[in-house]
Amino acid sequence: MSRLAVPKTYKLYIGGAFPRSESGRTYEVVSASGAFLANAAKASRKDARDAVVAARAAVAGWGGATAYNRGQVLYRIAELLEGRRAQFVAEIEEAEGVTRAVASAQVDEAIDRWVWYAGWADKFAQVAGNANPVAGPYFNISVPEPTGVVAVIVPQDSSLLGFVSTVAPALVAGNAVVAVASERFPLSAISLAEVLATSDVPKGVVNVLTGSPAEIAPWLASHADVNALDLVGAGDLDWISLEIEAADTLKRVLRPEQGPDAAAPALGRISAFTETKTVWHTKSLR
């Protein structure tokens, strides 16, 4: 007797929970050949608002954790990703219509990037910070601090790699993230959220919205409680308007990038979402 398949409903990831969209909307995700894969939630502006609230609540805890601790938590995610390799490879094969080898290569690259960024957690401040020479008996030290809530429009042309390449660097410095997943390939992003939910990442540190970036991005760009906006995957949107709206509330903005090298690993992606704090401290005069 044949068995009926049980298709999975992919939901949003907000504040450590997996809610449906507040609007109740879903959309069909189809494979490269047009076959039905799954229903994904179509997030509304209120889901985006809720995600920002969850992210804001998580900033103090995550940004306040020691860099070493953040690094350990991020490494742990890479370990869990490794354990779910087969699931991600199968998902990417189906969604993108690529061969197993290509899908495997994408998953490997994603895990390697995650590890690379995790390693920077307790090292980037040494590179991005500085001990400044001053004309007086003082230490003058500049250190990078997290900017707060970062909204990311992730690269739209990949399932997993684009998501990892943009979310991981924002996390390294201690920011909380609201990520808008690829509209065509949202499933791996939600599967990754399931990994995050069972790892040591505090709730609200990463929030994943699926649906239409064109619909959600303007609300995130103009949201006064979002501190930075990564538009790397917004090339097909009216991103100039988004940048202008973001300027109204003085957000840090990264512009769209296209092609296979979009969001390539770089220290700049970490330091882009930091604020430099400079402190003075007296030297001992003996």
Binding site: R49, V52, R56, W219, S222, H223, A224, D225, V226, E245
Partner: protein, 340 residues
């Protein structure tokens, strides 16, 4: 027989009315017979009704109206052991000008402080001190050994009289929950009546008396209904859910239940009693549910400062954020409202 409204209720009238309603002296036995004769609360029905009232969709212009109305019904509260005159001054500044970036924002109804902070509050209010129905901001003081109420009657009365003498317009008293739960209704009645007497000013006017039931400690809905009737019979001008120091504080079903008592009392005597949910109302969304419940239960005429109040501190900021969203069209953030 239309009775006088709000603070001006004559004490003689209140006592006479109680005697008439009870059919005897307000001692333990008579009150017990009366209060236990009231029909029990259908808890499931009450919670279902409250949940149903919470599902109304209030949008656009209705929402704007509701947000402004919520602000004008707030008793902006600070009741901390760490309160200082400076903290009260900043609270008053916020009460007078909730959103400095938008002059069209209404003022709150009152500031609610401990009795010893009343002079600081009045000082800071200056010319803005007045009746919220006339656009002023009243000063409410908690009294009677708030929040536990565990003190002798003399101490409670002195506490009350001192706050009134200092210029408090409204007194928020707590009932003796221990006595109530032990069935000593006469004692609770007498204490409320005595505090009401202590609210009198030398010129014959009287501070408005809010009676805090502390519903979180009364355990059952039946007790809440009895305590509401008892407080109104004893002369309270307002019945208030909670001190905010006990969980659960205000909930929608409890407030609905108290509104039903107030409605029934109005039908019976023509007198309008106020209701004040306090504690735990933090979001505009929740506050709008309360507005709907008031309008659907007691009537829209109750949505004015002398008949309905929110006891809240963090609610105001959330309403201001929503208000900014409504006027500007984009979501606002905590950096755009003042810190308490």
């Amino acid at each position: 027989m239309p009775a006088p409204i709000s603070a001006g209720t004559s004490l003689v009238t209140a006592r006479e009315r109680a005697l008439a309603v009870l059919g005897g002296e307000p001692d333990d036995a008579t009150l017990r017979r009366y209060l236990h004769g009231i029909a029990g609360v259908d808890a499931v029905g009450l919670e279902q009704r409250a949940a149903a009232l919470g599902t109304r969709s209030i949008k656009t212009t209705s929402k704007s109206w509701a947000l402004d109305r919520i602000i004008s019904l707030i008793d902006l509260t600070t009741l901390e052991g760490a309160d200082t005159p400076g903290k009260v001054r900043s609270l008053v500044a916020k009460a007078m000008n909730p959103d400095p970036a938008d002059a069209t924002t209404p003022r709150v109804a009152a500031v609610c402080v401990y009795g010893d902070m009343v002079p600081s509050a009045i000082d800071a209010l200056g010319g803005a001190h007045g009746d919220p129905d006339d656009g002023g901001i009243a000063v409410a003081a908690v009294a009677t050994a708030f929040p536990s109420g565990r003190a002798s009657l003399d101490v409670k009365l002195a506490d009350t009289a001192e706050a009134v003498a200092a210029g408090a317009d409204e007194i928020d008293m707590v009932i003796d929950r221990g006595a109530f739960l032990a069935g000593r209704y006469g004692l609770v009645f007498d204490q409320i009546a005595a505090v009401k007497e202590a609210c009198r000013r030398p010129d014959g006017t009287s501070a408005s008396l809010k009676v805090i039931l502390e519903t979180g400690e009364l355990v059952t809905y039946d007790n809440v209904r009895r305590a509401s009737w008892l407080s109104i019979l004893a002369g309270g001008d307002f019945i208030k859910t909670s001190t905010g120091k006990v969980q659960p504080a205000a909930t929608l079903p409890v407030t609905l239940l108290m509104l039903e008592v107030v409605r029934d009392w109005h039908l019976m005597t023509g007198q309008r009693i106020g209701v004040k949910p306090a504690g735990g109302i933090r979001s505009s969304k929740d506050a709008i549910k309360y507005l709907v419940t008031v309008a659907e239960t007691a009537g829209e005429e109750w949505l004015q400062p002398h008949l309905f109040r929110f006891g809240a501190s963090s609610l105001l900021n959330d309403v201001l954020l929503q208000r900014q969203k409504t006027t500007s069209g984009h979501y606002s953030g905590a950096d755009y409202v003042t810190i308490d």
